[in-house]
Symmetry: C2
Subunit: 200 residues, 2 copies
DNA sequence: CCTACCGATCGGTAGG
DNA sequence: CCTACCGATCGGTAGG
């Protein structure tokens, strides 16, 4: 399906994702958005009910993408380190494939109405819980160090995969798989040389 | 110096940091800001030249804080792993002590005018360079694994320390030192149990 | 999907 | 620091 054959509504959402990510939600006017699509401002309302509907839909779609990527891993029968690597790969892939909506997701969710806001908070909690459970599993089955704090470990992993929205460049030399493998290698094996050099 | 004895201009900047971080730059009106300080909208302009001046100053102060924290470490004669731990501690402390301006820094810099925007970009590059050099030093002196890619390693470290602006809670049970030590232990030593359990 | 329009609100200023 | 105001722009609507 070429860009111009997409349903008008999908085109509007694509443009909105790009403009909201580049300029921010409040700094993007409905006339800016309409102009991108060769329309007049008022014409948008034949396709959507309002500006906030766009934000809600962008954020919801992004949440779903993360959910679908990670949820099927939850019960997977894999060793914890392999599962962590695969989760990071999928997570980074969602970010990399949706740089605009990921940016909107991380920056603009504070502008949502209370109900939509609560949904995003709930989603965040479920992703946190996914990583914490994964770490706990790995600690219990002996794959991970016993002194790990699942909460801090989950924060560290989430930092790595989420922050990618600020620096990853689709079409560049690094694939999501490259990034995930690099990060997972460092996280799992540690940065320090083995054996550790003697402290002078 | 109590809050009310601070120069008016400093009070304005504090309130602006909080409002910009909570609601975003464009969603905060000058009347919102004035109201926080018990003023009328127009009265702000006796103290400042315009809205963007506030954003520029908040971002500049934040940049300076990061610079001052990290620059003195650059030439420090420490082993690379200790230096990394100390850099992470200082970096997280700046974030933790300035949660509002850090949030503004990470979210609102896209709204700066071209000159201020360029300054922020330059700053980002210098922080990146700091961490890359630190990694390179550690690889060369044998403290870090030889197969590390300084660029990816710097991204991983920066992810951990920057992302703290999304979840750290000042006044909570974790100090910046706790967070930095936890992250540094995991990053330097790795998550995997040693010796590694046999793969089934 | 367009034209023409609505009330509301914006950042900023003049004059005191 | 306030009152009163400016032009510009906002999201959204009516009628076609």
């Amino acid at each position: 399906m070429t860009e111009s054959s997409k349903p008008r509504r999908a085109q509007i959402l694509d443009s909105a994702s790009r403009l909201f990510s580049e300029r921010g939600y409040h700094a993007t006017s409905m006339r800016d958005l309409a102009g991108e699509l060769g329309m007049q401002g008022g014409s948008l309302y034949a396709h959507i009910s309002g500006k906030e509907e766009l934000l809600i839909e962008i954020v919801n779609v992004a949440s779903q993408q993360f959910d679908e990527a990670l949820f099927t891993l939850r019960a997977a029968d894999m060793r914890a380190d392999d599962k962590l690597r695969e989760a990071m790969h999928r997570h980074i892939r969602v970010v990399a494939d949706n740089m605009d909506s990921a940016t909107v997701f991380f920056h603009e969710w504070k502008h949502l109405s209370p109900e939509a806001y609560a949904r995003v908070t709930g989603w965040r909690d479920s992703i946190d819980a996914f990583y914490r459970e994964l770490i706990t599993q790995g600690v219990e089955d002996g794959t991970f160090r016993r002194d790990l704090d699942p909460r801090m470990t989950a924060y560290l992993v989430l930092s790595a995969v989420n922050w990618a929205y600020t620096w990853y460049r689709p079409g560049g030399p690094l694939t999501p798989r490259n990034v995930a493998d690099s990060f997972a290698d460092m996280l799992l094996g540690g940065l320090r040389a083995v054996p550790e050099p003697p402290r002078p």
